[in-house]
Symmetry: C2
Subunit: 396 residues, 2 copies
């Protein structure tokens, strides 16, 4: 009954469903407050009050037909201009509204970008570990994912190996910093090196290679960590942004693409992307949410909400004897499994009502991902279980 292409996804999906169902059963049996569920990347920091106020004011004062009506497939021009100006202020870029395309979240933005530039059989290089959903996005356009390695201590790109993977089919390098699942932020140095390699390879191969930078976690950078703005280092960069995490609006599906002026044939690519936005079925990003963003362009969730969790979880786990890189951004921690088979480790953790996702779900077995977008109490109360878990593996 279902399309052939959907069959592998559905097989994979039943594993994820089983995990969710196990969590639900645990909550029913032990009570939600006694289950320490670190498996979901579901932003839970309070929505800034400015968002609600802007929404109510728009609904009370604007003409409803215009407020909820069609606009250009690229989005409302005033909103796009407000975003461009905010980026220019913050990152010293030179964008205007013709560089900003409103999208149904970053997931849709990535699909719009791939639909715009990727041909069947062309390759998208992605540094592992990574959010495996990218595989399906690339598959939507019959492209091929090529996994590039990272250093197993730092999760920084292995640039020598990376360069060797670039060839006559390479079309896109998909970056994600701050990273899901590791929380690593790529430093300016690394971005410069990646850019230099790509410039060299573009010339050598006589073809355009794009960076697509997936940046839903851009604003979640702790301790003053800088997240370099990649268009400043490499012209053929498309940025996919989302307000899901920065404003805790994941269900509203609102984000944008940046197609910078220095990208080759920028205005053709922009127009094509606006049409791609239409024909993949989105038509445009949700109108009211666009207008809300126009008024909240510099508003953010309270970073301290996640940072406190980050510190508590990292220090607690280190004290137990676990091994992991201290995340600088996003709301994930990538823990080394004390045994090679991380599925066994995840299963043992369930004895202590701790739920984590195995690294195999991020193309990186031997690790587990913990999402710390949970209540602070969850982290504090989970520590006794983590201690016992560490003891069980002889870590302390």
């Amino acid at each position: 009954m279902i399309a052939e292409k959907m069959k592998p996804l559905m097989a994979n999906n039943s594993a994820i469903r089983t995990m969710f169902e196990e969590g639900d059963k645990m909550r029913a049996r032990f009570g939600a407050e006694n289950v320490y569920d670190f498996s979901l990347g579901n932003p839970d920091a309070p929505v800034p009050h400015e968002v609600t106020e802007a929404a109510i004011d728009l609904l009370q004062t604007e003409d409803p037909v215009a407020l909820h009506g069609y606009m250009s497939n690229a989005g409302f021009e005033d909103v796009r201009e407000a975003i461009a100006e905010s980026l220019n202020r913050r990152f010293g870029t030179s964008f205007d509204y013709m560089n900003i395309l409103m999208t149904v979240g970053a997931a849709s933005g990535l699909n719009v970008a791939l639909k715009t530039i990727l041909n069947p059989g062309e390759e998208v290089i992605i540094f592992a570990p990574y959010f495996l959903e990218y595989n399906w996005y690339v598959d939507n356009y019959d492209g091929r994912v090529v996994q590039a390695p990272t250093d197993k201590e730092t999760f920084y790109p292995d640039l020598e190996a990376f360069e060797k993977l670039i060839g006559s089919r390479t079309r896109v390098v998909l970056l994600n910093s701050p990273n899901n699942p590791t929380g690593v932020i790529y430093k300016e140095e690394t971005i410069k090196e990646i850019a230099a390699i790509l410039e060299r390879k573009q010339k050598e191969l006589g073809r355009t290679i794009f960076i697509i930078s997936d940046e839903p976690y851009r604003e979640l950078a702790y301790g003053g960590a800088e997240v370099p703005y990649i268009t400043k280092y490499y012209d053929n960069t498309i940025v996919a942004y989302s307000y899901s995490k920065s404003l805790s609006l994941p269900g509203e599906r609102i984000g944008y693409l940046v197609i910078p002026p220095d990208l080759e044939e920028s205005s053709l690519v922009f127009d094509t992307a606006a049409n791609a936005n239409r024909i993949i079925g989105c038509v445009n990003a949700p109108a009211l949410q666009q207008k809300i963003i126009g008024r909240c362009v510099d508003t953010r969730v309270d970073l301290e909400y996640y940072d406190r969790n980050r510190t508590a979880l990292y220090e607690g786990l280190k004290a137990c004897g676990f091994d992991c890189v201290k995340p600088e951004g996003a709301f994930y921690m990538f823990l080394k499994s004390p045994v090679e088979d991380e599925a066994e480790f995840c299963n043992t953790a369930k004895k202590y009502n701790i739920l984590m996702v195995g690294g195999s779900a991020f193309a990186c077995p031997g690790y587990v991902r913990l999402a710390y977008c949970v209540s602070y109490e969850t982290i504090v109360n989970s520590m006794e279980g983590f201690k016992k878990l560490a003891q069980e593996y002889g870590l302390s």
Copy 2:
């Protein structure tokens, strides 16, 4: 720079853009009130006050993190249940929330449905004239559109010809009633005949053939015209619905798919569609809009707003000597061009500041489409121009 698949679309797109630019130039030169633009299917009936009230109340009373948060890829269960109950009340169906999948409008719903069931090379039969955007949706999944003829007087399906087009590659019959561009509504008799043909062909060919029923204009049916609910006549039907027209919310991108319980392997198809919704990048329909719909499930725009336009335009054009089927639904009228080359007719109309879209844009040359979702004054004031246009072609 852009993907090969996008190139024909971009070529086509520049023609549409030229038309819009001409309209803008006209408005700048003659004043917007003196340009009679019937080219855009942009709903302009007032948004029902219940929608605005529901939105404000939700924003004032609900927990913002839950209100704007992730939910199942299929949408909020309470909203889906409310829609199912409304459909059951109105059409005597037996749906529940597991048959309703919230989507980013009907355009996205169609893409989700096609992603779920269509394989490369499989055929989608569509009765011409039709909304040519369907071609791109089918092309997204490497399917092939097969145009089926309609009677040139009534625009009713030619069922004999239709039956002959069904073969071993047929996967979908895409219906659209009330129809864009003709305004025709398929009567129960026709639906029954289509269903009987498909039942027969399914058996004969030993394969499943789906109806996908695109119903954004379902509520726009005038003079008490009935729009049969197709799942009642044919089990393997997927309905794509949108609130763009029924609530004048086209920019908000909110609609749903119905995957009825009697569809073969209904729950597998539903789960696959929910996953398709996620991987094409939508993830889920916009959260706040879903919740608004949950509270406005039986709310509609004032039908009289469009009906008055329909009558005024139809009677005015008939009095001028033009030939067209009286539309029963949607907000379009499909006028026979007095000359074979309808592009010439459209061009001549511009002398009188009248903008229309040629039937070639709907796979039906020799006709023009007029969208009467305009102010009543536009219709009244356009009549002098139409009279002169008719005289120019010797119609009166």
